[in-house]
């Protein structure tokens, strides 16, 4: 029964943290890494591409009204019926769509994660009330909500953004709450309370970091969802308004000119489809890398 405790145990050879291992696994996924590269290329093109042209997407060029595609002319992908350069407009529209996409997903994600983590950790009646609220908000018809909010904010980008965030934080909240509930029962949370941590400290330092893998995966699916709903609302005419471009309203005006000139639809449509594909492949790769059942 006597064991020599003066002999301290040496540590096993160095290995990485779970997060490092997961990212290593993600990097070995070729399709996902290709998507990251392509997405980065599109983002760079949207934000820096327009500076390569001497005009902006709102300048009309009356010598080239509805010019066809000609790669060697000043307007390589042609112009629309007002003489505005289509390529520059699509790139500028990309700025709007991508910004709303990532920012919207970020804001909705942060709100949802904190709300869900607090509800899941608190449990009991607070949790019940918080989740009933989420369920009530789930029941709200989306388009009516957007119209109400644009009346409230007087239309414009802010109303659109608010509407998108308002509807999209619900799902991450529900996902994280389930995760937080199981984490709150783990013994390390009890140890944290015995160590004198406050409830809020436990949520921020223990609960949220342990939900992060779920959140990353869901967040990467949230970005295309936000871009799609922006496009959808702009397509309906509620979202981004002319002359400001977004992929949504470019596609909308492209559809109306579809019979005469398919190019107005194809360029923004292809870019949007590419971005959505990339994001979905990335989300897929992240899910494979983070799924504990795969380990």
């Amino acid at each position: 029964m006597s064991v020599d405790l003066t002999l301290t145990e040496a540590a096993p050879p160095r290995s990485a943290s779970t997060l490092q291992l997961q990212f290593r696994r993600f990097r070995s996924n070729r399709l996902a890494m290709l998507s990251v590269g392509l997405l980065a290329l599109i983002v760079l093109a949207c934000f820096f591409g327009p500076y390569a042209f001497p005009f902006t997407g709102e300048d009309a060029d009356f010598d080239f009204i509805s010019a066809p595609m000609d790669l060697w002319s000043p307007h390589p992908f042609g112009t629309d019926e007002y003489g505005r350069d289509l390529l520059v407009r699509v790139l500028e529209g990309g700025q709007v769509s991508l910004t709303i996409g990532f920012l919207g997903a970020l804001v909705a994600g942060v709100i949802g994660v904190l709300y869900g983590a607090v509800a899941g950790y608190a449990g009991g009646r607070a949790d019940g009330l918080m989740m009933r609220l989420v369920e009530i908000l789930y029941g709200f018809p989306y388009v009516i909500l957007v119209i109400l909010l644009s009346l409230l904010f007087g239309g414009g980008n802010l109303a659109l953004f608010a509407a998108i965030v308002f509807t999209l934080w619900l799902t991450p909240a529900v996902i994280v709450r389930a995760q937080a509930q199981s984490l709150a029962r783990r013994e390390f949370v009890e140890a944290a309370r015995a160590g004198g941590m406050t409830g809020w400290q436990i949520v921020v330092e223990h609960i949220v970091p342990n939900c992060i893998s779920v959140v990353i995966v869901y967040g990467s699916l949230l970005v295309p969802e936000v871009i799609l709903s922006e496009s959808f609302l702009s397509f309906l005419g509620i979202g981004i308004k002319e002359p400001q471009a977004s992929w949504g309203n470019l596609i909308a005006s492209g559809t109306s000119a579809m019979d005469s000139d398919l190019r107005l639809l194809l360029l923004p449509g292809t870019l949007l489809a590419l971005v959505l594909l990339c994001l979905n492949f990335i989300a897929d790769g992240l899910r494979d890398a983070f799924d504990p059942n795969d380990r």
């Binding site: 301290t8 540590a11 997060l19 140890a191 015995a194 004198g196």
Partner: protein
């Protein structure tokens, strides 16, 4: 001075009422429990699963609020201690599942030293790190463990990290909630000996919760037997193991397997007959009456009080002659 004292402590869990807005009900787990513990001593708490041992341990630290009675810490009512969060450095807990007790996303140095930022907020980063390494070394882990993650550890190593976290604030009491029942037998001995060594070095008091009677015998000075949330017997270790008085304690002792298979085969009457009563519907009489071989109508009707049956020994049974 008495370090920890519980007076008529009752603990229950709130369970939600039938509807969203109806009042919640109390599910009582521990009833009318009193104990006292001196500095540097070990109280072993034994009992079968679900008897309220772990709940008691958490209530003693006020991790669960008691529903009745009070807990005194060095003579001070715990509910009235100002800034109990900081004072928690003096009273710590280690857990049954050593791996689940460590946050998988933190390094061991961070896990071990996190309580210090509450207990001693004025320490510099270098000092905190030094204390963490020192705590790890005290539990027999070398300094290069500091930057490891919990998934790299074995169960025994993880339990040592749990102990290191408990001792970093220089506590006076550690509640050990079944600290070795998830470990290999060979590792159990190491962890028990480590706890005893730390107890001697730091003058720790321990509340050692376990269902393993052999382990409790090795580490405890005093033994308390619980059945269905009530104390049925309390005695000094040697007297208890020489002759347990309560029929429930005797049944627990009989249930310990005999290492010699020839003799194990010859043993008779070890298994208890009868049903364990439900916590939701506790019996009116003795908590053990439904399974006790000696039970009479008196036992089923009237609950025996815990009383002094020999000097320093208490038991709750109608049939123990004093």
């Amino acid at each position: 001075m008495t370090l920890l004292e519980a007076r008529n402590l009752g603990v229950g869990y709130k369970i939600p009422g039938p509807g969203l807005f109806s009042a919640s009900r109390m599910l009582p787990i521990v009833h009318d429990l009193s104990l006292s513990l001196e500095a540097g001593r070990t109280l072993g708490v034994v009992g079968e699963s679900g008897c309220g041992k772990s709940t008691l341990g958490r209530a003693l630290l006020r991790l669960i609020p008691p529903s009745a009675g009070q807990v005194l810490w060095q003579g001070e009512d715990m509910t009235l201690i100002p800034d109990l969060r900081r004072r928690r450095a003096e009273m710590q807990i280690i857990f049954q599942d050593p791996v689940a007790a460590l946050d998988p996303r933190m390094t061991l140095a961070r896990i071990v030293s996190r309580p210090l930022s509450t207990f001693e907020p004025n320490l510099s980063r270098v000092q905190v790190r030094a204390r963490a390494v020192d705590a790890l070394q005290q539990v027999g882990l070398s300094a290069d463990f500091a930057d490891r993650f919990p998934h790299e550890l074995s169960g025994g190593q993880a339990q040592r990290v749990g102990i290191a976290r408990a001792i970093i604030g220089r506590p006076k009491l550690i509640i050990c909630d079944e600290p070795v029942s998830a470990l290999d037998v060979s590792i159990q001995a190491q962890v028990i000996n480590l706890l005893m060594e730390l107890q001697e070095k730091m003058g720790l008091a321990l509340v050692f919760i376990s269902h393993n009677l052999a382990v409790v015998r090795h580490i405890s000075h005093e033994v308390m037997v619980m059945c269905l949330g009530r104390v049925v017997e309390q005695a000094p270790r040697d007297a208890f193991y020489a002759r347990p008085l309560h029929p429930y304690s005797q049944a627990l002792m009989d249930a310990v397997p005999e290492p010699n298979p020839k003799r194990e085969r010859g043993r008779v009457g070890t298994a208890l007959a009868g049903e364990l009563p439900s916590v939701l519907n506790p019996p009116r009489g003795c908590v053990f009456a439904s399974r006790c071989p000696k039970a009479t109508d008196l036992c089923r009707q009237t609950r025996p009080e815990l009383r002094e049956v020999a000097p320093g020994r208490q038991a709750a049974c109608h049939f123990i002659e004093t």
